[in-house]
Amino acid sequence: MTVWQRARGRSAPWFLLPALALLAVFVVWPLLRAGWWSFTNADLLSPERSQGVGLANYADLAGDGRFRRAFGNTWLFALLVVPLQTVGAFFLALWVNRPEPAWRWLRAVFFVPVVVAMPVLAVLWTLLYQPAQGGEMGPVNAALAVFGVPPQAWLRDPTLALPAIAFMSIWQGVGLQMMVFLAGLQGVSKELLDAARIDGAGAWQRVWNVVIPAMRNTIIFVVTVTTILAFRIFVQPYLMTRGGPGNSTLSLIQSVYEMTFISQDLGRACAAAMAFLLLVGGLTWLQRRLLKEERE
């Protein structure tokens, strides 16, 4: 070990200190505090008067129909969005991966919804999904009518509302994943593709046997990030349906928000937040275990 290396070893903690201190204050401490409150009956307006209730908050959540509905909705949303958005983004990336300037424009077009603020898009899509009323029809229904599909009350129908929001979310988010895939595509070796072509591999075979294996790490990254984003679903249903009709689009985040600020039941809200943290953290961990990244 050189002198330099030894010195570096000694000084490293000092360089880490500012970051660690910030983490401790803004992440670790609130997390511990939230964990602590999750075992109490703390009231948001007077948390200092709380009493320990053991695991009651967690048991209570497990038996709460509304929370379970939110849990199920969020899972369903993720199951719809993650595969469709990942596959969609992958093929979009393959499609627009061309050097001519016209394709650059198309890439920009797909990326626009990522840049626009979600509340704006939520209002826009609420109008697009407008049900038929008094002879007037929203654009989505009008477009489907061309193909003979009868008009639907997209956001008002308990069975259609969540898929409708999932579709809108995929449309909104697919551009971002497409960009990540595009970046990944630049790393696929041209020589390999040419070699495959010379060996007589068709387009599908080249994608399946060359592109996908070469983009393994990119795909893992996209799936992981999309999963996390999907579980965080909140803004779209909150603005488009308020979690209704019934509780059919109620998300986990909305239910935590309501526990915190509407019923102001801080202990229970913290328990729900901890459960959510464990769920998403656990899923991410599982994904990274199952889909090991390749490292050089």
Partner: protein, 449 residues
């Protein structure tokens, strides 16, 4: 990827955790009246309304400071947008960082009183002064017979109508002061519809939950029903009562028979001449009068049962129990609810109904409809929304039920669902939480088991 990104739930929880962080102030944060170069400063929070209203509020604060300059007293006024105002208050309360005096929405009074955050105002307003306020303002600020909040203005909802359009369909507006019965109202809608005129706007596109509870509770009340029991925090058997099922089924018919739109695109179809009647509040009076002039009429909301009931309630002012000097804070509340220094400038700016009887003299429009009716119903038939610590949950679940019912949900099943959801929140708190604890403490003090 960094270690942190491997556990991205950290980021997901930012919202909740920041609340937690803010709460970490703990005890010992109680403020003394801030000293600012020998001046005493009263910290005051107000909701951010429209710019004219904010300007009026700033003017009121400025006048207060001028009037109290000799005493070395000053208010420090902050505005917060109304869509996050309740959250702002809750976080401040939890962090023991409430301002000395603050504005709050009428139905929130009971919850803050329950949490011990509002100081009593009885001592600061004598009998004569209290009698000068509209009865609805006193009722809204009173919990268990004690006064905790007073406002500078109140609100009203009426059924506006276009005389010409009604005449075209051969519909006669109600001539007595009671308004229509529900049957008369439905007949009027039928006739308008038959004449090819869209009958009614109900503003179902309103993004705020509160509109639904506020505007349509009178349907429940006039039908003899309630939202919550008056003697105990209980909605089971109350929200989905026989009376409410009957009233809200009749209300649902308004939408199923297409008298009013469930998903309106135009926010002001009445003003734009597309519908004949408008179920809306005092805030539309100026615009409707400008558009329609003499053609504009207004009557009470139709009644489900014998007696009409009107909604009421608005922003009001309270003094924090954390205030360094409650007396100084109350001085500001007196100023902002005073007929001359508070009510007049605010009402001129926002067009709401003056909260004090002595203030009406300054508003000559109150001799005629629709304004005359606003005051009339606040003096006689208006009823404040339930004064319960569980109001926020109640209104959220009830409003969601109303939205679904308007769009065709089964009335009984949907009200039962709301009942269950609200009751479970109540049971949790009354069962294991604060209220039971206090009952236990009271019992111990009295030597009961």
């Amino acid at each position: 990827m960094s270690v942190l990104c491997g556990y991205p739930g950290f980021r997901v929880l930012t919202g909740v955790l920041s609340v937690v962080l803010l709460l970490s102030c703990g005890a010992g944060c109680r403020r003394a009246p801030t000293d600012d170069g020998g001046k005493k400063v009263i910290r005051v929070w107000s909701h951010q309304g429209q710019e004219a209203e904010n300007r009026a509020m700033r003017g009121i604060a400025k006048a207060f400071n001028q009037a109290h300059a000799e005493r070395g007293l000053r208010v420090d006024l902050s505005f917060f947008p109304d869509f996050q105002y309740a959250e702002k208050l809750a976080i401040a309360a939890a962090a023991r960082d409430l301002p000395d005096a603050f504005e709050l929405d009428g139905p929130a009074v009971a919850r803050l009183v329950d949490a011990g955050l509002l100081a009593q105002l009885d001592a600061y307003f004598d009998r004569a002064e209290r009698d000068d306020f509209l009865p609805t303002i006193i009722a809204q600020g009173t919990v268990d017979g004690k006064l905790y909040a007073l406002g500078a203005f109140d609100s009203a909802v009426v059924l506006y109508y276009d005389r010409d359009l009604l005449a075209k369909a051969g519909v006669k507006p109600s001539t007595d002061d009671e308004g229509w019965t529900w049957d008369e109202f439905v007949q009027a809608c039928e006739r308008l519809q038959a004449a090819g005129i869209e009958p009614l706007a109900m503003h179902m596109d309103d993004s705020a939950d509160e509109w639904f509870t506020y505007a349509f509770s009178p349907v429940v009340w006039s039908g003899g029903g309630h939202l919550i029991a008056s003697d105990a925090p209980r909605v089971r058997g109350v929200l989905a009562s026989k009376e409410n099922l009957r009233s809200l089924r009749a209300w649902q018919d308004v939408f199923t028979r297409k008298f009013a739109a469930t998903d309106p695109v135009d926010p002001n179809p009445f003003g734009n001449g597309k519908v004949a009647m408008d179920w809306t509040g005092h805030w539309m009076a100026r615009a409707h009068l400008e558009k329609k002039g003499d053609r504009l009429g207004a009557m009470r909301l139709p009644r489900m049962g014998e007696k009409p009931v009107a909604p009421c309630g608005s922003w009001c002012w309270g003094v924090s129990t954390q205030a360094g000097d409650p007396e100084l804070a109350a001085l500001w509340v007196r100023w902002v609810t005073d007929a001359k220094t508070g009510v007049e400038p605010l009402v001129r700016a926002n067009g709401a109904v003056p909260a004090r009887r002595s203030a009406f003299a300054a508003f000559p429009e109150y001799s005629e409809n629709p304004y005359r009716l606003f005051r009339e119903q606040l003096e006689t038939t208006a009823r404040p929304r339930p004064r319960t610590p569980f109001y926020a949950t109640l209104t959220g679940r009830f409003a969601a039920a109303l939205r679904d019912i308007a769009r065709g949900a089964d009335v009984e099943a949907r009200l039962k669902q709301a009942e269950d959801e609200v009751q479970s929140v109540i049971d949790r708190r009354v069962g294991g939480g604060k209220i039971k604890r206090e009952e236990k403490e009271a019992a111990e003090q009295e030597g009961r088991p």
